[in-house]
C-alpha cells in the first residue's frame, strides 16, 4: 500500500529557469490566490502559508481549530454558509435533525504540477544491468513531464466538525488513476462534552497521513524524505544471511483508522494516538477481496476489498512540546508573536518523540497431518521509534528527525528443527519458527528553510538511511537485475533547493539531488565474499512549476 508521491522529472539548466522566473516576477499583477479557504475568507494564501503548503503559525492554528479561524470565525467569513436547519432546531431535538451548515460555494481547490529533470551522465552506468545481447533501457538526459492533477476539498461543517479530502485525479499526464490521499472527518474538541480542558481531545476518522513530526504529504520539497520511503524487507540472499521479514510498510503510507489528538501545534503540548490498519504485505485494497465475506463497499463477490492483511491494528503515538521563546508572556501565548514590523511566527524550539507498533502476520502452508493441512501463523512484532526537533527564528526554520526501525525475524524450520532456506519451495514444509536476527534500519534527515523574501525560499536538506539489509541485497542482486544497490550501508543524500512565487498561488521550484553512491558491478574478494565495484552517483536536477486555485 504505497502512498503517492511526486515523480521526479527533468529540467533545464538552472540559470535559464531562474532568469525566466525573475522575468515573470517583474510583470505587474493585481489578483487574489483563492483555494477553498482563501475564497471563503477572501484572504490571501500568505495568511496561513509561508510557502504553500508549509503552514505558518496562524495556519497551524487554523488547522488545529478544524479549518476555521480560531476565534470569531463567523466575523471573517465573506461567503455565508448554507444552513442545514435553523439553529432553533437544537431546541426541538430529538424531534428534528440537529442543525448544521455547508459552505456557500463548494470549497474545492485544484493543484497541478509539472516537472523538468536533467539526469547526470552516470545514468548510463545501468547499461551494465542489461541482459547480454539485449539493448539496455534508456534514461533520457532531459525530460519534461506532467505531474499530478489533484483536487482537494476541506472545511468546517459547523459545531466543530471538519473535513478534508484530497485525491490525485490524474497522474503522469496520461489520465491514469491517481490515489486518494487524505480523506477524513475530524471532530474538534470533543473533550468539551466531558469537561476536559479546551482543545485537549479531538477525534479524526478516515484515511490520513499519520501525525508525523514533519509532513511528507504536504511537504514543500520536490523529492520525498528517504527515511519515510524505507521499508524493512530484511536481507534476502538465498542460502545465507536471509531474514524472513519482508515488511512493506513505510511511513509514507496513508493510515486508515482513527486518531485521538490534543493540544496545539503553534505552542505548548501536542499529542496524538492513532489506531490504523496493518498491511505489511503491500497488497492493494482492490486485490484483497474475499469471495465469501463482503467488504463494507461491496457484495458477497468481494466488493472493493479489505485494507488490512491481518486482524492486528497498528498503533502510533506522538508527543511533542513547543517552547515559544518570546520574553513577553502575552506574545508567547498568542498564535503569532507581535513584532515591531508586524506579527510573525514565533521564535520557538520544539521537541517531540514518536513510536509505532505493529505485529506482522505471515501465514505458511505447513505439513499435512491426518489429511488436514496445517496453516502456520508467524507473528513478527515490529516498531518504529524516534525523536524530532524544530527550531524557528522569524522565517528561518531548521528541523529534523531520527528514526530507528526494528522487525522481529522468525525463520521457518522443518520438523527436525533445521532452518528451511528461503524462499520456500514447497518442500520441506515448515513445522515451526525459530528466532532469527532482527531486521533493523535507522536514519533521518535535517532540513533548513529560509524565507529570504516573502516570495523566495532557500532550502537545504540532508537525508540519511542506514540499512545493512539494503546493501546486502544489492550485493546479491545487483548484477544483471534492476535492483537498487547502495554502495554503503549508510546512504547519504544532500539536496539544496530554491523556490520562488511567481504569484501567491503559482510557484517555481528547483532542487539538485546529490544522490547516494550506488553500484551495478559486483566482484569477489579472495575469500569469496562479494564486493561492490565502481560506485557512482546519479545526481539529478529537478525543476517544477505548480499552481493551485
Amino acid at each position: 500500500m504505497q502512498r503517492k508521491h511526486h515523480r521526479i522529472l527533468k529540467t533545464l539548466l538552472p540559470g535559464v529557469i531562474v532568469g525566466a522566473g525573475i522575468l515573470l516576477l517583474a510583470s505587474s499583477h493585481k489578483g487574489y490566490a483563492i483555494p477553498p479557504f482563501a475564497r471563503k475568507y477572501q484572504t490571501s494564501c500568505q495568511t496561513c502559508h509561508l510557502d504553500f503548503p508549509k503552514l505558518n503559525d496562524f495556519g497551524k492554528a487554523f488547522k488545529d481549530a478544524g479549518f476555521k479561524f480560531p476565534a470569531d470565525d463567523e466575523t471573517y467569513i465573506k461567503e455565508p454558509p448554507v444552513l442545514l436547519g435553523a439553529p432553533a432546531n437544537k431546541d426541538s431535538f430529538p424531534n428534528s435533525v440537529w442543525p448544521g451548515e455547508v459552505p456557500g460555494l463548494p470549497p474545492v481547490g485544484l493543484r497541478y504540477n509539472q516537472f523538468f529533470q536533467y539526469t547526470g551522465s552516470n545514468r548510463n552506468q545501468f547499461d551494465a544491468l542489461a541482459t547480454p545481447g539485449a539493448a539496455p533501457g534508456l534514461v533520457p538526459a532531459t525530460d519534461f513531464q506532467a505531474g499530478l492533477f489533484s483536487i482537494f476539498t476541506a472545511g468546517n461543517f459547523g459545531s466543530g466538525i471538519a473535513w478534508w479530502v484530497d485525491d490525485d485525479i490524474s497522474v503522469s499526464g496520461d489520465n491514469s488513476a491517481g490515489a486518494l490521499g487524505d480523506a477524513y472527518l475530524k471532530f474538534v474538541d470533543i473533550g468539551r462534552f466531558i469537561k476536559l480542558p479546551k482543545d485537549s481531545l479531538s477525534l479524526r476518522a478516515g484515511q490520513f497521513e499519520l501525525d508525523l513530526p514533519v509532513t511528507q504529504a504536504r511537504s514543500i520539497n520536490l523529492s520525498p524524505y528517504d527515511i519515510f520511503q524505507e521499508a524493512n524487507v530484511g536481507a534476502a540472499i538465498p542460502g545465507a544471511m536471509q531474514q524472513n521479514v519482508g515488511n512493506q510498510y513505510t511511513f509514507a503510507d496513508a493510515a486508515r483508522g482513527i486518531e485521538l489528538s490534543g493540544g496545539h501545534s503553534y505552542g505548548g503540548y501536542h499529542y496524538s494516538v492513532a489506531v490504523f490498519d496493518q498491511n505489511t504485505t503491500g497488497i492493494s485494497q482492490s486485490s484483497n477481496s474475499f469471495p465469501y465475506v463482503p467488504s463494507a463497499t461491496g457484495s458477497a463477490g468481494g466488493g472493493v476489498g479489505f485494507s488490512s492483511d491481518s486482524s492486528m491494528k497498528n498503533v502510533y503515538a506522538r508527543a511533542s512540546y513547543r517552547f515559544n521563546l518570546e520574553r513577553d508572556p502575552k506574545s508567547r501565548r498568542a498564535i503569532q508573536a507581535a513584532g515591531a514590523t508586524g506579527p510573525h511566527d514565533h521564535t520557538y524550539l520544539n521537541f517531540g518523540t514518536f513510536y509505532m507498533y505493529g505485529d506482522s502476520l505471515q501465514r505458511f502452508t505447513g505439513a499435512t497431518v491426518g489429511g488436514i493441512t496445517e496453516v502456520l501463523s508467524n507473528r513478527e512484532p515490529y516498531y518504529r521509534a524516534g525523536g524530532d526537533f524544530s527550531f524557528n527564528y522569524r522565517t528561518f526554520n531548521v528541523y529534523g528527525l531520527y528514526m530507528y526501525a526494528r522487525d522481529s525475524d522468525n525463520l521457518p524450520m522443518d520438523a527436525t528443527g533445521a532452518p528451511i532456506p528461503l524462499p520456500l519451495s514447497g518442500s520441506p514444509t515448515p513445522a515451526g519458527f525459530v528466532r532469527g536476527l532482527p531486521a533493523t534500519f535507522s536514519g533521518g534527515f535535517v532540513q533548513a528553510d529560509y524565507l529570504v523574501h516573502p516570495w523566495l525560499m532557500a532550502i537545504a536538506r540532508w537525508d540519511q538511511v542506514n540499512s545493512s539489509a539494503d546493501r546486502i541485497n544489492g550485493l546479491a542482486f545487483a548484477t544483471n537485475t534492476s535492483y537498487f544497490a547502495p554502495y554503503s550501508s549508510s546512504r547519504d543524500r544532500f539536496t539544496p533547493g530554491v523556490q520562488f512565487f511567481i504569484r501567491a498561488n503559482i510557484k517555481a521550484s528547483f532542487e539538485y539531488q546529490i544522490r547516494p553512491r550506488q553500484f551495478v558491478t559486483v566482484g569477489s574478494l579472495a575469500n569469496g565474499n562479494p564486493v561492490a565495484l565502481n560506485p557512482f552517483r546519479v545526481n539529478t536536477a529537478v525543476f517544477a512549476l505548480e499552481f493551485v486555485y
Partner: protein, 205 residues
C-alpha cells in the same frame, strides 16, 4: 437747506458702511464662499477631489483625529481624505493580530513607515505632515489595502456612489483641482470659482 444737509450725511454714512463691509470681507480672504461640484468618471465611490496648495496660504490642522479600523480582515473605510497635519487613529477590532505600514507617501519610499503590531481593542496614531497618497497595507494579510489622501488644503471631498462630489465653503478665486481614484491616473484641472463652479473628471488607467 437742512434737508439737503441730512441727505448728504446719510449718503456719506452709507458709503462709509459699504466700504467698511467690503474691507471686512476682503480681510476675511474672499468676497464670498462658493461650491465646487462635479462628477468623477468612471462614476465610482471613493474618489477624492481636492484643491491643490494655495500660494501664501496655510491652514490649521483639524483638531479631531480621523479613524481607520481593521475589521473582518478589511480596512474600514477603504479611502479617507485628511488635510495635511491631520492625525489618523488606527484601530484593530479583529481578534487576529494586524499590522499597518505604508511603503511610500506619494511614491516617496523614504517616507515609508511601519506602525508595528497591536492587538484587538488598541489603537495607534500617526500625524501626516506630508501631502500625498498613502497606501495602507497589512504585512500579515496582503489582500488588505486602504488609502489616505493627505490633501494640501482643507477643501476636499470624497465622491458618493454615483461619483458625485461637492466641495463647499471655498472662497472665490482660481484654483487647481485634482481628482484621485485607486488604480487610475491622477488628473488636475484649473477652476475659477465665482459662487459656484462645476468640474468633471474622466480618469484613465
Amino acid at each position: 437747506m437742512k434737508h439737503e444737509g441730512n441727505t448728504q450725511t446719510m449718503k456719506q454714512t452709507t458709503q462709509i458702511l459699504l466700504f467698511a463691509s467690503a474691507a471686512i470681507l476682503a480681510g476675511a480672504g474672499g468676497l464670498r464662499a462658493g461650491v465646487i461640484s462635479g462628477t468623477v468618471n468612471p462614476a465610482k465611490a471613493d474618489s477624492v477631489v481636492y484643491i491643490n496648495a494655495i500660494a501664501g496660504k496655510t491652514f490649521p490642522a483639524p483638531a479631531k483625529p480621523f479613524e481607520i479600523d481593521q475589521k473582518s480582515l478589511m480596512f474600514h473605510p477603504h479611502v479617507i481624505a485628511a488635510p495635511v497635519g491631520s492625525t489618523v487613529q488606527f484601530l484593530n477590532s479583529d481578534k487576529v493580530q494586524h499590522n499597518i505600514f505604508w511603503p511610500s507617501i506619494n511614491g516617496d519610499k523614504k517616507l515609508s513607515h511601519n506602525l508595528g503590531t497591536w492587538p484587538m481593542g488598541e489603537q495607534r496614531s500617526f500625524k501626516f505632515d506630508t501631502p500625498g497618497v498613502v497606501p495602507l497595507l497589512c504585512n500579515v494579510h496582503p489582500e488588505m489595502a486602504a488609502y489616505i489622501i493627505v490633501t494640501p488644503t482643507p477643501y476636499y471631498a470624497v465622491t458618493d456612489a454615483s461619483g458625485g462630489f461637492k466641495i463647499a465653503d471655498v472662497p472665490d478665486g482660481s484654483y487647481t483641482v485634482t481628482a484621485w481614484h485607486e488604480g487610475m491616473k491622477i488628473l488636475a484641472k484649473p477652476v475659477t470659482l465665482s459662487g459656484s463652479a462645476t468640474v468633471d473628471f474622466s480618469l484613465t488607467k
